[in-house]
Symmetry: none
């Protein structure tokens, strides 16, 4: 294969995915990573992509990244690590949206082979970066703000599948009021998610504990496991323990 061909392939990949990994390209094109790095350097020199540690980004993507630098919160990372331990090979796992869930996906071992279902586009995109995850998006009408699908069609599809684990990036959780949320359509979907799952796990940073929104999703008893960044002995968690939840 000609060098220019290889570089055209790299640009093609960049067009599609907005990013490339040196390691992937090395495998796909059957040349050493050094060669890929040299190609990326050349392409960067001509200015049509931006080389970064590990690979390269499209010019436009790099621009957007620079404009919203996200400091990924250490609390969410700590929650993600605890949640990860519950997942094993072969499971059917249902994921909601939310930054905590994104952290969980990022922290997954690349070797994990499981089937992930989600109704959230950001979660789906993050899952697609995982080399061995089977990703299934339950689609229908999309909400503009939350970028998740809602509606009867979604509820129906969810009811047809039995999931091992359901991870909810929870907005508001309270020992008395249970899970609550803002949007009627979101609530319907969350209820369906909970109903179809053997174990429901709520991921909540501590400041979301004991907060209540307008509309009820379900009672606290429907949640099996609550994961926060706090120590399980923390006094904030005692009401949930009393309700029979497992705290991690």
């Amino acid at each position: 294969m000609l060098k220019k061909e290889r570089q055209a392939f790299i640009m093609h990949e960049i067009d599609i995915h907005n990013k490339v990994l040196s390691s992937d390209l090395s495998l796909q094109l059957n040349v050493s990573e050094d060669t890929i790095r040299r190609d990326l350097q050349e392409l960067d020199d001509t200015g049509i992509l931006t080389k970064v540690h590990g690979g390269a980004l499209s010019k436009s993507f790099h621009f957007t990244l620079k404009n919203n630098i996200v400091y990924s919160q250490s609390e969410k990372k700590s929650i993600a690590l605890k949640a990860k331990a519950l997942i094993s090979d072969g499971m059917f796992i249902l994921l909601s949206g939310g930054t905590t869930i994104i952290e969980l996906i990022k922290s997954l071992s690349p070797d994990l082979r499981a089937t992930f279902f989600t109704v959230s586009i950001p979660s789906a995109l993050e899952l697609l970066d995982h080399p061995n995850a089977e990703v299934i998006f339950i689609g229908n009408k999309l909400l503009k703000n939350s970028q998740m699908s809602v509606g009867a069609e979604v509820v129906q599809r969810l009811s047809e599948i039995k999931f091992d684990l359901c991870f909810l990036g929870t907005n508001s959780i309270d020992a008395e009021q249970g899970l609550t949320d803002l949007d009627l359509e979101v609530i319907e979907v969350k209820r369906a998610m909970i109903a179809s799952s053997a174990k429901v796990i709520s991921l909540s940073i501590s400041k979301k504990l004991n907060t209540v929104q307008r509309m009820k999703v379900c009672n606290i008893e429907e949640v099996d496991i609550l994961i926060t960044e706090l120590d399980p002995q923390d006094h904030l968690l005692q009401p949930f323990l009393a309700k029979g939840l497992t705290i991690i």
Copy 2:
């Protein structure tokens, strides 16, 4: 064999494969690689191919690489503007993935009120930025590379809805071979998209015209309208006109 004959053969190979290797040509034409190199140099001087280390590339191929960002973008914009004119309020519109489709979505008037269906995540995300579009994602298993959903479930859902317009960002379109693509699962979905739509519109930048991939999606007659950045009188488009397509 005359020099001109040899060079004609080289150009023929370039037309078919978009590239040639000096070593291959040397064997096929039974002359030394030096001679081939001199031929390629001459052809490069006249500007009808681009000589590179190891062989030569077709102009269009090289063009793609060199001007990836700026130029092909403007072609796609021109296509998007022509396509936009076909859309009006209240329509049910089905969109594939691809950068040309993204351009189309970006160019839509903010006042337009229509319902958009898609199987492509990038298209869905772009649609969500439109203030008045109703966005419906037909979800199922997601392909890692193309970020689109595939599978029987998708085909089934598509078959249940009747769309006014279907815009396909076409990979390969040929007057004789029709639409072709690389991936079996993608083909199944595209077929279902075409079957459920009153009008099928193919958006193709000119360099995708008269190219063929491994697997057939449908005959050219199934496509109603072909939109390119070229003038409808362009000779490249005559074969499609002859097949009864509307050219814009």
